[in-house]
Symmetry: D2
Subunit: 350 residues, 4 copies
């Protein structure tokens, strides 16, 4: 039977788990194992993550990115705190208030940006507007960044370091939403350490689900003082798996042998191929530069209809204010192949 | 290679997922599928659950029993409410305050019982002490029952009906923690409907993880008015899986072809064989009657040491006030075999 | 002794309570009275408020405007809800997250405006961006307006009606922050009914503290369904005074004999006199129109220094983005007299 | 006109404010004063409280005892924490879940006692049942004591020291609900320091409302590390008075010239006179010893009816389990006079 074209570009979470992850799950399904994280897989994960990040870490596996972000933020944000973040952030747009809930009602202070990358000057401006001396106001306690951003762009580590230095000067702790961190690392060609703690990140929500896992994310804490009682916060959120080996096994499969980076490399490559092909023909207009595995592009309505009629799946995206026309989002993943991209492009060119 | 004895009786969550569940996961790992519950598995689960419970239902798959309980309680308990429950309840003892967190700070009012089964008269007594007219006090809004109980006993549906009728007369909604509901149903020989909505249950937290799943529980709502905005509560708790097919597939595997009941039947049978064997020799004293798959038993310290030296794993359990001696908990599961039980008993008799 | 000039224009909450309120407190201090709102003053307040607003109401006296707003919002906003409000709103800027806390973590969605008055088109735009169908997002449940606004401007009731109609079409309930409602009513020359429920307001936080009370605000609920269990929410916030007669007596003093409107009339008149005087000389530039009792004005730094050296007290105010120069806020109150304004102006003209 | 008998013994919060407090309020009502606690009264209160307690303190005035308790507990209890307290405590019985709300859902672990005074052995027993190592369980972080207790009894400071030492050994912080602390101090003849920080109290909720204030309580923090960001917690609870001078002035009036102790002395003396008189005739049976200003007594139903028919007001009280007959509570206050007590006794004897 001829292999079919994979036509779903709507998100990197519509795809199956990758074979290595499924094999790891099957392998973990042997015999009894202590519950609630006392298993061998979880112990090994601590070590592997420390090696990958070249830093002592505490790793708390959870199920979803929303849980990872909200729990990480709650660990560093008191209820009277404020979290400064880009207005496009997932924690702002797509988590139904999970950070507000987990922090006990802290406030998100959103900062506009052009392409999802926070401007250091804008951060300083907002910090100045919220001096610690004003007790009628939430206290800025937390900076939350997203890498790669929600607009498919990637921060340079130097810019992250600039942002985190400004935050730290005001006593803020720093969270990184790394749902697509692997895509950013691959784009930058930097090390995981350079992308995180070396740039001033305190707590990382590392995504694996969009990158080939079934359902696995990890809160990775670089400062042990931040990890105190984290297990209790996780438990009380209902995120302590009894059979945690099945979470840790997925994360191990991703981190070992560079699977997470290889999967991201494939996703990025397919995005670049797709973006390149789109712009070789007139009519496509890029909204943001394609650096990771997401493409935001304005296409003629006719072309959109034609592609969908041919079975391709992708989502309309809210147009930035003042932009006329239809923006669509195209997402590639480890699961996307050259043939899939080329089939999309061939349809588009017609 | 000779099959080894399975010596871990510490809990029903230390065992692997059963083969049917793993097969279902592999089968679900084919091609793209819409995210966040718009997949075919989740749609089918709604229908299968409705058939199993002979009632229109809404089913919300989640990862853990704590999440299922806390979300279910939050749907029926305002922040100023009180949840009446047995003092042995999992929501009281083992969830690090998840119900308190998810409800926004509602109060658990615990009611003592002898064996985990709430006394209807005790419920009425507590309700009388908390009249709705006293606005200095939390308003009783919720009754939470556990079936099978945390002490391995099983309510008769008539007693549940008595309790829920008293609750309903005061306007309370009723939650059932069904982490081991299958074990209770098998013990009773009743239908799932008789064990739940026919006995007055409004919202069920149905466990599958302890009964053969990898990690899957379901909030099952019998009254659609209770389900309003439940998806938002779940999302904001970080419990909305993007690749939800993998949750629904596990639950489907359990509910279809009576796997959940067959697994529970095996677990119960092994518990009865084990309890029966223990009491055929002197020295063992039962703390509570063994009706489901948990045994609470006082054993001589020498016997305990001997069993552990032979590799058997089980937990000491807090002794009820006034009881001298060491109580241990022995838990069987779908994974326990006759040979395992007999090996335990043979060691015990020595 | 010659009467001194009252030189503090920094806020309407730095002034003493007005004599009628103090007399009412003294008069209420006679004999025993039932606690927690079962007193005669509170009963009478219900009736007087119903008369003033020409509508059946439930009135819940509390201590602070922050408490009134947060409790009112919590009564109409579930934890997964979103409150749409102007970005200048007191609930956004000056309550240290009280609404986030009391609602259990609902989100404030701020809408920019030019002068504190929300644009109906902007409201619709934001509502369109947050469709109820998107369960990854907070559900818009609440519109919160402020009258008079934080920029000293006053909504026309027709504009409020337009806003509330758009909100209602999407199922939102409407809260009014009426910390300075009396100033708005006096400015408009409308009735309290026209300013509130006739324009679509469901729940009103009515301020008295800034208008002559010692410390008294009232949550006034026009729809009894919204008032259910409000007493419990108030109690659990620690806002149920045991000796509630002293709260109700203050509010009665304000509402009876039109004291609230007369006090506001004096405050507004003094603000207009002050604004008029400022602009008769060059150098002052108005930032927003003076309609109630607050003036936002750009003054030369020299003039500011001179006024302060002469003992006048007022606050610098954050300059709107792109505005050069120093903005100050001048606030008048029932306590401000012609002589005080004229002394300010005389100093300013020098 | 002949002075009337004061017949309301239902609570110490049904009485008016005492003349010294009302005078202080009138005196504070002069001229402008900085808002939100920057006033001279509040500054002076810090000093006076430090003198009274012979310890550096931070004092945060609030309106109600519920607010004082809940805010104090929130400052020392994380959301995953547990507060150990007597089952009769006000925070358990009469605050509609305010501590649960303010702490973000921490759990109250109630400990039974005979007469409202916690047994040190019972505290240790409960602590042992909740080891810090069990992350499935709330972490005991806080001990909350009440002095005088809700049953009108008074702890010996040595017993408080015993309790707090056991708590501290497990890392718990200690809160004291001092709604009637003055009554206890007067009974003991000790100093305020001996009753609080010298016995191991970290945070005190000091009541004044029941002791002659209009509405004023103070959170008094003995350890400055506990006071960090307390102002924000208070603000966000809606408990930051803008005209705070009126709160501080009440507290100053109470603390200066020993008014709080003198008022409590009068209340206690009247309670002892009343209790003594009751027991001089047969038929009255004491439930708890009268040490402060509350009497819990079983009276014949006929006598109760007779007293009420004569106009005396007091409340039935829930009978302890197993006790037959009607228990009533009689509360005296600074406002109770010898003639009032004697009139009650004369009626009772008939």
């Amino acid at each position: 039977m001829v292999e079919q074209i994979r036509k779903n570009f709507s998100s990197d979470n519509v795809v199956p788990a990758c074979p290595a992850v499924m094999s790891a799950l099957m392998a973990a399904n042997e015999g009894a194992a202590p519950a609630y994280g006392a298993d061998a897989w979880t112990a090994r994960l601590q070590q592997v993550a420390a090696d990958v990040f070249q830093h002592a870490v505490q790793v708390f596996p959870v199920t979803t990115g929303t849980a990872a972000n909200a729990l990480a933020l709650a660990a560093i944000t008191p209820p009277y705190g404020a979290v400064l973040c880009d207005e496009s952030a997932h924690i702002v747009q797509s988590e139904c208030g999970a950070p507000d809930f987990y922090t006990g009602g802290a406030r998100l202070l959103t900062i506009p940006s052009e392409d999802g990358r926070m401007d250091p000057a804008a951060l300083s401006y907002v910090l100045d507007r919220h001096p610690a001396s004003n007790v009628q106001d939430n206290l800025p306690t937390t900076l939350s960044l997203t890498q790669a951003t929600e607009w498919g762009t990637v921060y340079d580590p130097a810019r992250i370091a600039d942002l985190t230095a400004r935050a730290r000067a005001r006593g803020l702790a720093v969270h990184l939403d790394g749902a697509r961190l692997a895509n950013a690392i691959v784009h930058l060609g930097c090390t995981p350490a350079e992308a995180t703690w070396k740039a001033g990140i305190d707590v990382l929500a590392l995504g694996a689900t969009k990158n080939g896992a079934m359902a696995a994310e990890a809160v990775i804490i670089f400062d042990p003082a931040r990890a105190e009682q984290f297990a209790r916060r996780r438990k009380r959120g209902g995120h302590g798996w009894s059979k945690q080996r099945f979470l840790s096994a997925q994360l191990l499969a991703c981190l070992e042998d560079d699977l997470w980076l290889n999967n991201a490399r494939q996703a990025n490559a397919m995005a670049h191929r797709l973006a390149g092909g789109l712009f070789r023909h007139p009519g496509a207009r890029l909204v943001y530069e394609t650096q990771a595995n997401e493409i935001f592009v304005m296409l003629p309505d006719r072309a959109i209809a034609h592609l969908r009629a041919a079975g391709f799946v992708f989502r309309d995206w809210p147009t930035p204010l003042g932009v006329e026309g239809t923006v669509v989002r195209l997402v590639t993943s480890y699961y996307t192949r050259v043939a899939d991209v080329d089939a999309f492009l061939a349809t588009w060119r017609k």
